[in-house]
């Protein structure tokens, strides 16, 4: 790592070193698995070996990732770094929201889940005005109608739709 005052690196310094270390460690782990996870065939040209491209790419990751870490401005971890790691960690909350949405759609249905998910998320984000919540419901409904009903995007009907009476069931499975 180089002197922070005279580095050519562009970008914020907070969190950079941890990212570079994790990236390098991941690359080194992949390199250690190269023999296990790829095969080397006899009587096959070097460039046609299945191991060739993983070797080149992981080699590149290790070399360039290592050089990047080495050339990063040298600095001890400070409060800004810890705050940054916290921000990365707390972003996982959005992943959970997203995955909950993904899990619920095949069970309850694309239209009802989207129309409920949008206002709940808006509430979570701090919007309390009625107009904003209604806009979010309308947006959810519009997305479903546009993609599922008009553009015919492949999203399967839910388990809940099975309990709807006759014609309604088919209509909902096909359109919402």
């Amino acid at each position: 790592m180089s002197d922070p005052k005279y580095s050519t690196f562009r970008g914020p310094l907070r969190g950079q070193i941890l990212f570079a270390i994790v990236f390098l460690l991941a690359a080194l782990f992949l390199m250690s698995q190269l023999g296990d996870q790829t095969k080397w065939f006899k009587r096959t040209k070097f460039f046609a070996q299945p191991r060739f491209w993983p070797m080149v790419s992981i080699g590149g990751m290790v070399i360039f990732g290592g050089l990047h870490l080495w050339k990063l401005p040298r600095r001890k971890f400070v409060t800004a770094d810890y705050t940054e790691w916290k921000i990365w960690f707390f972003a996982i909350e959005w992943v959970f929201w997203f995955l909950a949405y993904v899990m619920l759609v095949p069970l309850i249905g694309y239209l009802p889940v989207t129309m409920v998910f949008m206002p709940i998320m808006c509430w979570r984000m701090g919007y309390r005005s009625k107009s904003m919540l209604w806009i979010s419901v309308a947006f959810g409904a519009a997305v479903v109608v546009l993609f599922k009903s008009f553009l015919d995007v492949k999203i399967p009907g839910s388990l809940l739709y099975e309990y709807l009476p006759g014609a309604m069931r088919n209509f909902f499975i096909l359109n919402f």
């Binding site: 990212f19 065939f41 993983p54 790419s57 990732g65 959005w94 992943v95 997203f98 949008m118 999203i155």
Partner: protein, 539 residues
């Protein structure tokens, strides 16, 4: 003429015209909202276009690609926030114009310059198409491999100050492409005995994670910004007249856009930088640049709008995407079994020209739309960021889930979303990963085919185009390393010049000492000794 007629025939369908309209209006809207770029929109819409005809799907995506930069100029000029990343240079001269009460003039000038750039590049490429059709078949496996390699190197070196991590991320992209079943020997590569990894990592899942979900997380984590809008006064047509007064700047910027767009991995930023520098150096009032110069605005907007049409050249002629957006479009071609490459230029030239005509019509549509609807359109700038984040999250679901109805895909996309979020927080580029994935796949296939008849290393570059590409790679690497060396030198100089006084005095004494120890110093001492001989010397 027959070619043009058959191309018009391809386009003369209601669904294509509707796609053109939806793409152009949608693209302008998406561009105008800061925080949602064309990459997010194209990533989300990609799976939806798979069920459409290739020309319809591509027209929507091209529409978004070509028109988003028009929309991106609106917030860049009015609130000093670029709508898309490539509009950053527009803020330099656009916002100062707004600050002095000339918002409408700036907008109208930006639209006119963008329109000129778009039309100029399409006309250039339609005229060049027959020449390209002759050159494209000269590209065999080796040439395509070298062109892809050149593209990847250019993408890496374009990230000045971050080239090392860009290279590492590009290698990561190449690695991602190798995961799964190897297509020739059918051996597993890095699947860790997991069945979901056997079919490999899907490009669209990665694209949606890195561009759409990461952007959603980024917006959700941030705060809403308060936007103060300026009221627009004056006519919208004055920009066209003003543009006509600077034909040289517009022409040169358009040319830079076309040339830079055609080179894979270079794109808008370099084109803008070159044209802006040219405009400033050749201007009669260079001091106005950065303070609301109309020439600066023309240079920036013309150059970036000339790129989309040109960027389609390496994609269509060689099957090599030069940037993330064209890489996404490549997957639309593959889904419909239309393989872009020399064959496409030879056999389906009407399809290629039809795409260019669609871009031409798109520019006219967008200009007309913007000239009349800007007053209403500027309201989209006010949409709060976190609400946008929620919307992108919901829309990303459509993109990922509709691919294979797989929860695992959603989980992988979410992981890439977090990875992209961290990259965004650190201001590191995600584009090299996507290009690494796409170009890595191309390089693997082409190198295997290209090496089949190669006996000595020189055989690989014994054809003229291969040799030119090889020399270009060497040239790019030479220029890059020279720049790195010059940067190092400048840093060393800066280090020495900022040394504090005591070190400088020490250095001065050290130099004096070494001088005295040298030959000349010795002579001087000898001379001095003549007049003041030591007492022990013989007389």
């Amino acid at each position: 003429m027959d070619l043009l007629l058959s191309s018009v025939d391809i386009l003369a369908r209601w669904d294509v015209l509707l796609a053109l309209l939806a793409g152009s209006v949608g693209g302008v809207l998406i561009g105008a909202i800061p925080g949602v770029g064309p990459a997010v929109a194209i990533a989300i819409l990609l799976p939806a276009t798979f069920s459409m005809d290739p020309i319809v799907g591509l027209t929507v995506l091209l529409g978004i690609y070509g028109s988003s930069m028009y929309g991106g100029a609106i917030p860049a000029i009015l609130i000093n926030t670029p709508g898309t990343a490539v509009n950053a240079l527009t803020t330099y001269d656009g916002y100062p114009m707004t600050a002095r009460g000339e918002a409408r003039r700036a907008l109208s000038l930006a639209y006119s310059a963008s329109f000129f750039g778009g039309i100029f590049s399409v006309v250039c490429l339609i005229l060049f198409a027959p020449i390209l059709a002759k050159i494209a078949p000269m590209f065999g496996s080796r040439e395509i491999f070298l062109a892809a390699l050149l593209g990847i190197i250019l993408v890496i070196v374009a990230h000045r100050g971050q080239a090392l991590i860009a290279a590492a991320l590009a290698c990561f992209g190449v690695f991602l492409n190798t995961v799964g079943l190897e297509p020739v020997k059918y051996s597993k590569r890095f699947t860790f005995d997991q069945s979901f990894l056997s079919s490999g990592v899907n490009l669209i899942v990665v694209v949606l994670g890195l561009f759409a979900l990461s952007q959603a997380f980024y917006l959700l984590q941030g705060d809403d910004e308060k936007v103060r809008m300026t009221k627009l006064r004056g006519g919208m047509f004055q920009g066209l007249r003003e543009l006509a007064r600077h034909p040289r700047v517009a022409g040169v910027s358009g040319t830079f856009g076309v040339v830079m767009g055609m080179i894979p991995g270079v794109g808008e930023f370099t084109a803008q930088f070159l044209s802006y520098t040219y405009a400033q150096k050749s201007s009669k009032r260079p001091q106005d640049f950065g303070h609301g110069s109309s020439e600066g605005l023309i240079a920036a907007e013309t150059a970036n709008n000339a790129v989309p049409a040109a960027a389609m050249v390496p994609l269509l002629a060689l099957g090599i995407p030069g940037e993330a957006l064209t890489a996404m479009m490549l997957s639309v071609f593959y889904v419909h079994n239309v393989v872009p490459g020399p064959q496409l230029f030879q056999n389906q030239m009407d399809f290629v020209v039809a795409l260019y005509l669609a871009l031409l019509a798109l520019n006219v549509l967008v200009l007309v739309f913007l000239l009349f609807a800007t007053n209403h359109l500027i309201k989209v700038v006010k949409i709060p960021n976190r609400f946008l984040g929620v919307c992108i999250l919901v829309l990303s679901f459509v993109g990922v889930y509709s691919l294979r109805n797989s929860v695992t895909d959603c989980l992988i996309a979410a992981c890439f979303g977090i990875f992209g979020f961290v990259l965004k927080r650190l201001s590191l580029p995600a584009v090299p990963i996507i290009l690494g994935m796409v170009l890595g796949g191309i390089m693997e296939v082409k190198l295997r085919a290209g090496m089949a008849r190669v006996k000595t290393p020189f055989d690989f570059i014994d054809r003229p185009i291969a040799m030119i590409l090889f020399l270009m790679i060497l040239g790019v690497l030479f220029i890059h390393f020279r720049r790195v060396w010059l940067d190092r030198k400048a840093i060393k100089e800066a280090k020495w010049s900022t040394k504090h006084a005591s070190t400088n005095f020490g250095m001065h004494l050290f130099r004096r000492k070494s001088y005295l120890l040298r030959e000349r110093g010795r002579k001087v001492r000898e001379k001095h000794l003549k007049y003041n001989p030591r007492s022990t010397d013989k007389r």
